[in-house]
Structure formats: structure tokens, C-alpha cells
Symmetry: C2
Subunit: 322 residues, 2 copies
């Protein structure tokens, strides 16, 4: 079976690729070939003989067509311009987040390859009254161009699946924390930063009041959920191919309390509140309270609590807490 | 003030154009010029000196650009491939209902003309659990390509408005009845047909059980609502530019009862139930019970009942009931 991971050079895409290779397959069959596409790759991509890493832009029609002509059975689509960047550069967000995704769907249809597609959407689609609990029936009403572009693709995946052109499923990702490495242009970047930087001996800030809560999930669990999304049968999903993933509601203060418990109060002193109006204007439109009834019923998973999330990061990074 | 009506050769577009000319203006000012665009026009289009009728396809970029370069202040966008046709011809629906609408928005942005845009969306966007009452918070979950394409444009209009590229508003039209003339390719065509044909001495059928209810509005009221949508200030709408119009919940049986009351039982005997699986598969995904709280608060209107709707048709068509 040939699997494609678009955006596989990013943190989650790479981790997903590694996990897929380690597992060896999906419900549909053994993985004999994996094409990993991204604009750039970190130096430590898997060297497995099944893997080909293509340093390309998936919005390039010629490049994408060549890959699809090989008839992949499963496509994971994680490529995106992150929220802050899509808000600042409207054209780029529309081109990559929306038009290139539509092009991918149109090409699958044109080539009649009917792949299973797992699309990385985002809980950042929600922008209505976020003080209310979000349910599986809540209209997203996005308040960012990133959120808008994600909903557009969800709708296309639903219709293309209903018509039998692809077998798609969109999973709305919570805020993923703790991400290793450096801060990025995502407006949610600070949520990892307030755990990661102090654990690495560095100073860090957050732009919203400490009582601000977020809907979070660990890297380990989100990768499990990507794989689960590919394994679920089309009949289990029915007509609604959009899944709001489970997560945890955790405030900045609760994150810091958990960090203090695991790493000690000296570490949390490296974190401070520095208000930022631009970030706040976007971040405060995200919902923190979600009732993920359908995704839990479908077997998607979440972490037991913030302690587990921080401990996961500490263990994986080999950080010694003295 | 220059007003553009895209799809102004159709039944509602023409009636809207005539009403606008008769009124003379909108809240923003007097209408000094009106460009009416459509692929074809009926012979009795207004001959008013303010009017220019362009027999063009609005999906043609060159044509659309020429019109927009004149800097119209208000654009009514009613052009669409109807529901049944968009389901049967996916490419055509995507091209006209979606891509051409996106092109219109992109051109407005490029030319920095920031027009007020009133977009004709549809209650056909709803496709979730339609036995529930639809509220202003209900996720549409469309189950037709037509519905999907309408939601895509609603989302774009929201984001383009939020970013200040246009001042848009999408109104979700109920099923409009009674439409004069001939049946069309809309899957809702029979709803007018079961009133219109028997009143004109012709036989007519309906494809769904008589208890099936619909969310309906008369031609007169929908035109009033289009004009009201153009007159509402941007601040009254806030971030949510999508409005589900008021309507009435009326079953096929209630329509026929009302027809019998107004025109007599001989007339209703011309109507019969002929099941149609294709039409039923689409029509039964439409919601019939809607709580149009926000649109009523915003001043949009509906008919007092089915009797008024049928009487309006009888009066306007000059049908003599003996």
C-alpha cells in the first residue's frame, strides 16, 4: 500500500510518518511505500527504504499530479499556512490552505483514484460564542482567515466524499502542546512556549490573562488520532466527515501549576504575562470548552491531564529534572 | 448610485430590479444607474433609461471586471445553477455557484471598490438532522453540492467582509412559492407547480408524501427582504453576515387545503402524488422548521400564511376564480 503524507516535514507530519513506518501498516494493508512531501525537511527524516521525501510545494499542480498518478491509497494532508501567517498574508493562506487543497481533491476525482484522505483541520474554525460549550452540532462561524479556509476544505471533503470522488475525513485538531523546537508563526505558539522554554532554562511569555483556557492535546495523542482517522471505515462516519477531536480544557494558570508540580517553582518563574493585542484578538475567539461526544464514541483519544502532557515532553526530550 | 444585479434576468432578479427602479433608491442613495447581468433575458425587461441589460455570463472574468471597474456601490448576486442541476453536473455547479462567486469577491478586493454585496444563499444549505428546529447556531451540514457551494460562498463573504474587502451579507432563501411560468430544474420546482399548474387548468404532481413540510416565502416578501438586506448597516450585522430568512412551515397537504379554500376542490383534483426517489433523496434533507430569531429581529419579513401566498399569485397573475 502506498501512503502519502503532505506536510510530512513538519513536527506532527514527521512524527506521524515515523509512527506509521513503525506500525508497518493501516487497516487497509501493509505500507510498502511512503511519499513524504514538504517544502523543507529536518535533517533527521526516516531513512527507511519504503520512504521517499519530496522537497516540493504541494500547491504545485504538476508535482501533485505526478504523486497522485501513482494511485496512493491513503493520503494524510497536514500542509498549511499557520493561523497568524494566514491572517497577515491573505493571498498565501487562500492559495495553500484553500486552493491547493481543492486542487488535490479535484485531481483525485479527475484521476478516479478515490483515496482515503485524512485532512488536518483545526478547532480554530470556531469563532461564534466561545463561552458556550461547543457540540457536534455547533456552526463553526470562523473569525480568522485560517479558520475560514479550514472550514471551506472540510465542506469540500464532505461533498467530494458524499459523491464518491474521495473517502475523506477532516479532524479538527486541538492546540497541540508541548511542541519541541522553536516558536513558530502560529498564534498558539506561546502555549507550547510556556512549558518548553522554562524547561530548557529560557524565559517565556504569554499574551493573554492567566485564566484563559485552551482545548489541548499532546503530540502523542494527536498522532494516534491521525492513524485512527485513517482506520475508521467510511460507513462508521456516514455523511458527516468532520470530526472535532477530543482534548482537555486547561487554563494558562493550570498549565503553570502543573509545570511547577513536575519541574519546581524555580522553573515557572521564567514565565511572565506580556499582553499582546493582536494575539489576544485571535486567541480569544477560540473555544476552550468542547463536548467531543462523537469523536469519543468513534474511538478517538485524549490525555488524562496536563501532568501527563508535560511528563510526556520531559520524557521524550530526555530532560533531567533535578 | 450604481447598482448591479447579477442574475437579474431570472424571476426573482427581474422582480427585484423592477422594485428597485420603482423605489428609486436604497438607504445609500438614489439609483442613477443599474446594470442587470444574466445569460438570457425575458422580452419584458425594464426599458428604464437608468438600466443596461448585459446578456453575459458573470463567470467570464473579463466581462465581470469591466462591470466592477465602474465601481458599483451595491451588488445583488442571484446567479446560480439550481439545486437539481448542480447535483447532476458537478463541474458546472462548482464553476458558477462557487468559483465565479469567489472570482467576484477577489476582483472587488483587487479593485478596492468595497461594494455592499447581497448574496442569494439558500435554506437548502441545511442537511443535518432536519427533524430538529434549525436555529441561528445550527451547523448547516449540507447534503447536496448546491448546498455545499452556497455555504462555501457564505463563508467567503464573511471573511472578505471581516477583512474589509467587501461589505457582504448572505440571505438564505426559503423555497419561493408561487413562481409563475414553467417548471425549472430546481428540485423544489414542484412546490410552485402544485399551486400554479392547477390554477392554470393543468395537471401537476408532487414527488414526496403529502405530510412533507417546507419552509416557504412568497416572491413579494423575498424581494422585500433582498432590499432590506441592502439597507441594513454593517454594524447591525456585526461579524456574522449570514442570515436565515423568515418563512412559514407549510406541508404539501396544507398547501392543497389552502388552494381548495381559495380556488375550490375541482382545482386541487388536478394535483396527484407521484413518488420520485431522486427528488425525495434531496428534498427530504431540507429543513422545514426554522426559528428565524435573528432575521426577525433584524426586520426581515414573511407572509401571514399560505392563503396570503396563493392569493398574491392569483391577484398578480389576474387569474379569475369562478
Amino acid at each position: 500500500m502506498h501512503v502519502v503524507v503532505i506536510g510530512g516535514g513538519g513536527f506532527i507530519g514527521k512524527r506521524l510518518s515515523e509512527e506509521l513506518l513503525a506500525k508497518g501498516g493501516l487497516k487497509q494493508g501493509q505500507i510498502t511505500r511512503m511519499t513524504i512531501m514538504d517544502k523543507t525537511f529536518p535533517p533527521d527524516m526516516p531513512t527507511d527504504p519504503r520512504v521517499e521525501c519530496l522537497p516540493v510545494d504541494f500547491s504545485d499542480a504538476q508535482v501533485m499530479r505526478k504523486v497522485l498518478e501513482q494511485g496512493p491509497q491513503v493520503i494524510f494532508h497536514l500542509a498549511a499556512i499557520v493561523s497568524g501567517e494566514a491572517e497577515k498574508n491573505f493571498d498565501l493562506g487562500m492559495k495553500v490552505n484553500f486552493q491547493a487543497s481543492l486542487q488535490l481533491l479535484e485531481m483525485c476525482r479527475e484521476l478516479s483514484i478515490k483515496p482515503r484522505i485524512v485532512f488536518a483541520s483545526s478547532c480554530g474554525v470556531f469563532g461564534g460564542d466561545v463561552t458556550q460549550v461547543i457540540t457536534d452540532e455547533t456552526d463553526p462561524k470562523p473569525r480568522s482567515s485560517y479558520g475560514t479556509q479550514k472550514v471551506l476544505v472540510e465542506l469540500l471533503i464532505n461533498d467530494f466524499s458524499r459523491r464518491g470522488f474521495v473517502d475523506g475525513r477532516s479532524i479538527r485538531l486541538p492546540t497541540i502542546t508541548v511542541r519541541p523546537g522553536k516558536p513558530n508563526a502560529a498564534t498558539s505558539s506561546f502555549i507550547s512556549g510556556i512549558i518548553r522554554e522554562p524547561l530548557n532554562g529560557q524565559l517565556s511569555t504569554y499574551p493573554v490573562p492567566p485564566a484563559t483556557a485552551f482545548w489541548v492535546l499532546s503530540p502523542k495523542r494527536v498522532v494516534e488520532n491521525f492513524i485512527h482517522a485513517a482506520n475508521i471505515g467510511a460507513s462508521e462516519l456516514g455523511n458527516d466527515r468532520t470530526i472535532t477531536l477530543p482534548g482537555l480544557t486547561v487554563s494558562v494558570q493550570e498549565m503553570l501549576d502543573s509545570l511547577a508540580k513536575i519541574a519546581g517553582p524555580t522553573v515557572t518563574k521564567r514565565v511572565s504575562y506580556v499582553p499582546d493585542a493582536f494575539l489576544e484578538s485571535i486567541v480569544l475567539t477560540w473555544p476552550a470548552k468542547i463536548d467531543p461526544k462523537r469523536s469519543l464514541q468513534l474511538g478517538f483519544v485524549r490525555d488524562s491531564g496536563m501532568d501527563e502532557i508535560i511528563q510526556q515532553y520531559v520524557d521524550e526530550q530526555g530532560i533531567s529534572l533535578t
